[in-house]
């Protein structure tokens, strides 16, 4: 076989390695370096300051808020996004009519851009012109300020969950279609019915898919930016700040790219740690039918 020649392996891998190095690894290595520098205004002057940015990061109270919010988002993504996707898939899979309709409806929000969804929800939550207050007024109740310090992070969670629940729904649905029908037929002969079928057959056989979805949901939660930035910009009083929105504020509003790079490294380390932990948690032998 021609592919036994290792030079061809190198040759065919070269484009990917080249692109990965140029657009991922090189910027990443650069970001690590920038995180140890004082770099303002995107100028050509960068001063090496050792661990100073990391010391500031540890003492920055907004980083603490952002970390807490990022963890809330991860929990929301795991339980409500992936969990919600699984629940919807189980429900849709069990119906006899309207399967295609529900599949389309649940998947639809994925195709809308995060910015558009963010804008839509910022209008929904707006005090003077918002949909929620219009409903409240119509019911004769008093208007509310929806985006408060206590509620903002949970209210920005709503559009994020709504947008991506369909993504996991489709993955689970595809996973379910791969489960051989004869397993269910045998179980039915043994007298299994309704939700027991889901709990004892479908969910255990979807274990690999669930593991992948958990990793995807966690990684996805760490990358959330657009919706939060449009709806609250991390406010009020930094209460809905995420590491991503704080990094953006430091880099582009504050023009402090050195400190912003430090936040990027913190995000990356957090992502790696959580993903490794999650992989260990769900690591079991692969399911085979």
């Amino acid at each position: 076989m021609i592919f036994r020649d290792k030079r061809y392996i190198v040759l065919f891998l070269a484009p990917t390695i080249l692109l990965l190095f140029t657009f991922l690894l090189y910027p990443l290595i650069q970001s690590v370096y920038y995180s140890f520098t004082e770099w303002y205004n995107f100028s050509n002057t960068k001063t090496f300051i050792g661990l100073d940015n990391y010391k500031d990061l540890v003492n920055d109270p907004i980083v603490g808020i952002a970390l807490k919010n990022t963890l809330i988002l991860i929990l929301g993504a795991v339980f409500l996004q992936a969990g919600g996707g699984l629940l919807l898939a189980l429900l849709t899979d069990s119906i006899k009519r309207g399967f295609k309709f529900f599949r389309t409806v649940f998947f639809f929000p994925i195709v809308i851009s995060g910015t558009a969804i963010g804008l839509m929800f910022s209008l929904i939550y707006n005090y003077d012109y918002g949909l929620l207050n219009a409903i409240v007024r119509a019911l004769g109740w008093s208007e509310q300020v929806w985006l408060t310090e206590n509620s903002a992070i949970y209210l920005v969670l709503v559009p994020i969950l709504w947008q991506y629940v369909g993504f996991y729904f489709v993955i689970f649905l595809t996973g379910m279609s791969k489960i051989p029908e004869d397993i269910y037929e045998s179980a039915v002969l043994d007298g299994i019915t309704g939700w027991r079928k889901s709990v004892y057959i479908t969910i255990p056989l979807l274990r690999d898919v669930i593991a992948s979805c958990l990793t995807l949901a966690t990684a996805g939660a760490l990358k959330v930016f657009d919706v939060v930035y449009i709806v609250t910009k991390g406010g009020p009083l930094n209460s809905s700040e995420l590491l991503s929105t704080y990094m953006y504020a430091k880099a582009f509003n504050g023009q402090n790219a050195g400190y912003a790079s430090t936040i990027v490294i913190a995000m990356m380390v957090l992502g790696i740690v959580i993903t490794v932990l999650l992989n260990r948690l769900v690591k079991k032998e692969a399911v085979s039918y």
């Binding site: 070269a14 080249l18 995107f42 100028s43 012109y129 985006l147 910009k233 406010g235 009083l237 509003n253």
Partner: protein
């Protein structure tokens, strides 16, 4: 051996092809720049980056002026890279362009601390030589203003559209509630108390935007005090935010509201007052009830008759090695600063550092705004023109904390000062 050599050659060719594809993609902009070359006639492509983009009120005039320049100069293509100033998009673009040696040929961009970054890149023209070559053109610029916008004794940003900040108020709402014009602090506070007891919002503002704090600080500490960045003497001005917030002077969602929505509350008559810049005047000038006046002097304040006004942006030109491009960029800037074109910009609003052809259609609010500037005793530039961006964003963010009673004014000032001192 022969087979090996052939394999090596094939491998090498494939890798070279891949690399050349990648490099060709990276060099796209260079190719694009050379593309307008036509046989015989050289077509010049000028990259122009300004703030006339998005919802900026001067966009229609700017677009028309570009078209007119291209029509009058066949063979010139203006590549409009204008970017909105919102969310610091223009600053980021220009700074990144300057750092990577990819600056546009012509810029209409901020001066003050931003000039330093462009001047340090050694890629922009200092205008003294061109003024000496064309004294007639130089004469069109107000010499006093030109002196004020110099950086390190040199003129890099040609002043053009000036701005002012003022207290906009709705005369009809004031009359309906038998209130005096908010020309004194007492009248202002009485209006706040009166409107707060109705369903009219007394003062439309977002607590994430800079305008009201500019007014309060200047009124409190005067022009000299305003230059002492984040001095503890600013604290009483910030405490007024807390007082106003407690009096329900601001929209209930002022902590998450953006400036556009605050403006629309005022423009739609849902709010009685707003402090904002001259760029908002054009949109408000259709309503004859909208008035403008300076912010009243706060008790014990030192800023009587002083307003935030100036020429915060100007025309920069890249020092292009290509003489034809240099000449065309210069021609473009002379065209934009001509009385005809400046007159069209002036009809939209603002004060001008160049002679403008008088427009008969200037709205009364714009006339009143210019009269307010003429009557002012002194002018200062906004705080963000001389402090670091990071300290300023921290300071702006802190105003919300002071208003909500979560931090003291002194704490917010100390945090901002610490960041500002880092790069001063």
């Amino acid at each position: 051996m022969k087979k090996k050599a052939v394999n090596k050659t094939v491998g090498l060719l494939v890798v070279m092809a891949l690399l050349s594809t990648l490099l060709a993609a990276c060099g796209g902009s260079d190719k694009a720049e050379k593309e307008p070359e036509k046989s015989g006639n050289k077509e010049i492509s000028l990259r122009v980056a300004t703030s006339f983009a998005g919802s900026d009120p001067w966009v229609p005039v700017w677009t028309k002026a570009i078209q007119q320049f291209q029509d009058e100069n066949p063979g010139v293509k203006i590549v409009d890279e204008s970017t909105p100033v919102n969310q610091e998009a223009l600053r980021t673009k220009v700074k990144a362009d300057a750092a990577t040696g990819n600056l546009a040929d012509v810029l209409f961009y901020f001066n003050g601390s931003e000039t330093a970054i462009l001047a340090d890149s050694n890629s922009i023209v200092s205008w003294e030589e061109e003024f000496a070559k064309d004294p007639e053109w130089a004469k069109q610029f107000n010499a006093g203003i030109v002196d004020k916008v110099k950086y390190d004794g040199k003129l890099y940003a040609l002043p053009y559209i000036g701005f002012y900040e003022g207290l906009f108020w709705n005369k009809a709402l004031f009359e309906q509630h038998n209130l005096e014009a908010p020309s004194t602090y007492e009248a202002f506070m009485k209006a706040v108390d009166t409107f707060a007891s109705t369903d009219i919002i007394p003062f439309a503002t977002s607590l994430t935007t800079p305008y009201l704090q500019e007014a309060l600080i200047l009124s409190q500490v005067g022009p000299e005090g305003q230059q002492q960045a984040y001095d503890p003497s600013w604290a009483p001005a910030l405490n007024i935010f807390k007082e106003l917030n407690e009096k329900n002077a601001f929209p209930k969602d002022s902590l998450t509201l953006d400036d556009d929505k605050a403006q629309s509350l005022f423009a739609s008559g849902k709010a009685a007052m707003m402090f904002n810049g001259s760029w908002t005047a054009a949109g408000l000038s259709q309503d004859p009830d909208i008035q403008i006046s300076p912010f009243p002097l706060v008790p014990g304040g030192k800023g009587e008759g002083v307003i935030v006004s100036g020429f915060g942006s100007g025309w920069y030109m890249k020092n292009s090695k290509d003489q034809e491009k240099y000449d065309m960029a210069l021609k473009f800037i002379k065209f934009m600063t001509s009385p005809d074109i400046a007159g069209e910009f002036a009809a939209i609003g603002g004060t001008y550092a160049v002679q403008t052809k008088a427009s008969e259609n200037t709205a009364q609010l714009l006339v009143d705004g210019n009269a307010m500037v003429s009557a002012a005793k002194d002018f200062v530039m906004p705080i963000d023109s001389y402090v670091s961006r990071e300290s300023y964003t921290q300071f702006l963010n802190g105003i919300g904390y002071v208003s909500a009673g979560r931090k003291t004014a002194e704490e917010v000032l100390a945090e901002a000062k610490k960041l500002n001192d880092k790069i001063q």
